[in-house]
C-alpha cells in the first residue's frame, strides 16, 4: 500500500524546486519517506521515492544504502545512539554502551523485543567537548553518565516517539516571503 499522499508528494516537489535538477532532492526525499514509513525505509518506500523523482529503484537503493542514517530495518520507538569515537571513548563511552546493552538486554544494533528501544554505536557526533554524547531521536544528551542514561531511559518509556529525524521539509517557512 503506497503511503505517499498528495501532501507528501507536494512536500517533495517543493524541496525539488530548490535545486537545479530534480534528483538532487533524493536525500531530503528519503528523509521524508523515512518519516512517513515510521522511521525506516522498506522497499516500498524507496520505490515510492523512485517513482516520484523519476529514478530507478536501483539508483535510490544505491544511494540509501550508502548513508548510515537511513534505516534499512525497523527501529524501536526510541533510537539510542551512543558515540563511540575517540573523545567519547576516552571518557567512558564503552562502559556506557555495555551498561546500556545490559540494561536493555540487547546488543548494539538490536531492538528490544517490545519494540521500545533500538541501541546503536555511532561515530563522532560532534559533541566532543561534552563527551560522552548520546543521540536519541533528534536530541543530543551530553556529559552522559550511566545514572543519567538510566534516568533518560526511564523517562523515554512513557515519552512519545521522536521522529528519528525531523525531515527537512517539516520546517514550514522555507523559501518564499
Amino acid at each position: 500500500m503506497p503511503r505517499f499522499t498528495s501532501e507528501t508528494k507536494a512536500r517533495i516537489d517543493e524541496i525539488a524546486g530548490r535545486y537545479p535538477d530534480r534528483r538532487s532532492a533524493l536525500l531530503p526525499a528519503l528523509w521524508v519517506a523515512q518519516e512517513v514509513y515510521d522511521g525506516w525505509l522498506p522497499e516500498e518506500a524507496m520505490q515510492e521515492v523512485a517513482d516520484h523523482l523519476g529514478m530507478s529503484r536501483a539508483e535510490v537503493e544505491g544511494v540509501a544504502s550508502y548513508y548510515t542514517m537511513y534505516n534499512k530495518e525497523p527501529v524501536g520507538r526510541h533510537h539510542i545512539e551512543i558515540c563511540q569515537n575517540i573523545s567519547c571513548m576516552i571518557l567512558g563511552s564503552d562502559d556506557l554502551i555495555h551498561h546500556c546493552e545490559h540494561r536493555l538486554g540487547v546488543g548494539s544494533g538490536e531492538t528490544t523485543d517490545d519494540g521500545m528501544f533500538t541501541l546503536s554505536r555511532v561515530e563522532c557526533l560532534g559533541a566532543c567537548s561534552n563527551a560522552p554524547a548520546v543521540q536519541i531521536g533528534a536530541t543530543y544528551h551530553e556529559n552522559v553518565t550511566k545514572e543519567r542514561l538510566d534516568t533518560i531511559i526511564e523517562q523515554l518509556k512513557s515519552a512519545p516517539s521522536e521522529v528519528a529525524h525531523p525531515a527537512q521539509a517539516k520546517m514550514p517557512e522555507q523559501g518564499q516571503f
Binding site: 531530503p28 542514517m69 569515537n85 575517540i86 561515530e123 560532534g126 566532543c128 561534552n130 522555507q174
Partner: protein, 430 residues
C-alpha cells in the same frame, strides 16, 4: 597569557543572540549592508588583505578560491557551505550554528556577493538536527526581514539560502564528495584539478560552486566589518596565519569546550590555561591537535605557536586540521584508541579507491588480531607498509588522514604495541 581576541564569539553569550532582533541590535547584518555597496572584487580584496584561510582543515586561502570563480559567464553560480562537521574531536561548527546562526547566514550572503552567486546551499550533516533547526530558523527570519528573498534591501538582487541535510557519512565532509551528496548521489569524491576543472569553475551541476566551511564563511562577517587589514593584525605566530580559530577542546582537560583562540597562541597556553590543564592527579601523555586525522603528538615541544605553520614545525603530519584538540592523559591506552580510529576510517571509507578500501580493511583486521593477543613481531612493519601504500595513493583525503594516527601511534608508542605483541596485554591497563 596572550590576549584571546573574541572576533567571531564577541556576542556568543549574549542572551537571545540566536534571534534576528538581538543579532541586529549587536550590529548584525551591517557587514552585509556594507558589502552590498562594494564590488565583488573589493570584497575579495578585503578577504585577501585579512589573510583568511579555510577553517575546515585544509587552510586554503579563501580569496584565491573565490577569485577563481569565472566572472564573465552567464552560468548560474552557487555558494556551498560545508557544515558536515564529522572529523572526530571537532565540535566547533555545531557550537557556532547553535549559538550564532545569523552569523553564518550573514556570511553566506556576503560570500554570494563576492562570487556573484544568488543561491547558497548549506550542507548540514544529518546528525545535526538541532543546529539545522537553528540555522533554518535564522534563514526564515532573514527572509522575513528582507535580507534574503526578492530584491534584497532594494538592491535589485534576489538571494536564496537553503539547508540540505546529509544522512550519516564522514566522507561527505570532503568537498567533492559533498558535491556528489548534494546532487543526490552516494557521497563519493570526484576527480580534482589539475586532472579536472576546479569546482569553482565546474562543480555541482557543472556550475561554479566554491565550497566554504561554516567557520570560514562566518569569519568573513567581522572581516568586512573591521576591514581586512585590521583583521590581519590579529595573531601571534606566522604571518601566514592570521586571525582566530574556533577550537573544540576535548578529553582529559579540566575545562573542555569550544573556544575562540587567537592563532599563534602557544599550544602550552591552549592546553594548560585556556583548557585549564590536565585533570587533577594526571599528566599529559599525548594530544591530537586538530581532529583525529592530524595524529598523535607528544608533550614536548609544547611552546610552539598554534597556527597553520606552527603545528607543522612541531612535527604534525597534517597541519592544524579542523580545530579539534583532543587531550589524553597517561590512562589512555594508545593501541585500542588507534584501533577505534582505524575502525572508524574503515567504516567511513567510501570504497571508491583500492588503497583506502583495501588498506583500511587490512589494517582493521590486523588491529583486531593484535588486540586479541595474536600480534606478531613483524606486524608493525606490516602496518607501516600498508600505511605507506595508502599514503599519497588514495583518491581523496580520507585515506591520507586515516593513516596519520596509525603512523604517529607507532612512532611514539611502539612499546605499547610491543606489549600487546609479546604478552597480549596493554601496558596502560595492566
Amino acid at each position: 597569557m596572550h590576549e584571546q581576541h573574541q572576533i567571531l564569539y564577541k556576542h556568543r553569550f549574549v542572551e537571545g543572540i540566536k534571534g534576528i532582533d538581538v543579532y541586529r541590535n549587536h550590529g548584525g547584518y551591517e557587514a552585509f549592508r556594507k558589502a552590498l555597496t562594494m564590488t565583488p572584487e573589493a570584497i575579495i580584496d578585503e578577504v585577501k588583505l585579512s589573510g583568511l584561510r579555510g577553517r575546515g582543515g585544509a587552510g586554503f586561502p579563501t580569496h584565491i578560491k573565490w577569485a577563481s570563480v569565472p566572472k564573465n559567464t552567464d552560468q548560474e553560480h552557487y555558494l556551498i557551505i560545508n557544515a558536515d562537521e564529522g572529523e572526530p574531536g571537532t565540535a566547533k561548527d555545531r557550537d557556532l550554528m547553535n549559538n550564532l546562526p545569523h552569523l553564518l547566514v550573514e556570511g553566506c550572503l556576503i560570500g554570494m556577493l563576492a562570487i556573484r552567486a544568488r543561491k547558497c546551499y548549506i550542507y548540514i550533516r544529518g546528525e545535526y538536527a538541532e543546529p539545522w533547526q537553528n540555522v533554518q530558523r535564522a534563514i526564515n527570519e532573514a527572509y522575513r526581514a528582507g535580507f534574503i528573498g526578492k530584491n534584497v534591501l532594494g538592491s535589485g538582487m534576489d538571494f536564496d539560502v537553503y539547508t540540505h541535510l546529509g544522512a550519516g557519512s564522514y566522507e561527505c565532509g570532503e568537498e567533492s564528495a559533498l558535491i556528489s551528496s548534494l546532487m543526490g548521489e552516494r557521497g563519493m569524491p570526484r576527480l580534482k584539478a589539475p586532472s579536472a576543472p576546479l569546482y569553482t569553475v565546474s562543480g555541482a551541476w557543472q556550475k561554479p560552486t566554491p565550497v566554504n566551511n561554516v567557520e570560514t564563511i562566518a569569519t568573513v562577517v567581522p572581516i568586512i566589518n573591521m576591514g581586512g587589514a585590521e583583521y590581519a593584525k590579529i595573531g601571534y605566530g606566522s604571518p601566514r596565519s592570521r586571525g582566530t580559530k574556533l577550537t573544540s577542546i576535548s578529553g582529559h582537560v579540566k575545562k573542555p569546550g569550544v573556544y575562540e583562540i587567537t592563532l599563534g597562541t602557544p599550544m602550552r597556553e591552549v592546553i594548560y590555561d585556556i583548557a585549564g590543564g590536565i585533570r587533577d592527579g594526571h599528566t599529559l601523555k599525548t594530544y591530537i591537535p586538530g581532529g583525529s586525522s592530524t595524529g598523535f603528538m607528544m608533550p614536548e615541544p609544547l611552546d610552539y605557536p598554534m597556527d597553520y605553520e606552527g603545528v607543522v614545525t612541531a612535527g604534525a603530519m597534517l597541519g592544524l586540521g579542523s580545530g579539534g584538540l583532543i587531550v589524553m592523559d597517561e590512562t589512555t591506552p594508545i593501541v585500542p584508541v588507534t584501533k577505534r580510529l582505524v575502525d572508524f576510517y574503515h567504516h567511513e571509507s567510501c570504497g571508491k579507491c583500492t588503497p583506502c578500501r583495501e588498506g583500511l580493511n587490512w589494517l582493521a583486521k590486523i588491529y583486531d588480531r593484535i588486540l586479541a593477543g595474536g600480534g606478531r613481531p613483524q606486524d608493525l612493519d606490516l602496518i607501516w607498509d600498508i600505511c605507506d601504500n595508502v599514503r599519497g595513493k588514495s583518491f581523496c583525503g580520507l585515506g591520507e588522514g586515516a593513516i596519520v594516527p596509525v603512523m604517529t601511534s607507532i612512532k611514539y608508542f611502539r612499546d605499547e604495541y610491543m606489549s600487546y605483541i609479546k604478552s597480549g596485554r596493554d601496558l596502560v591497563m595492566v
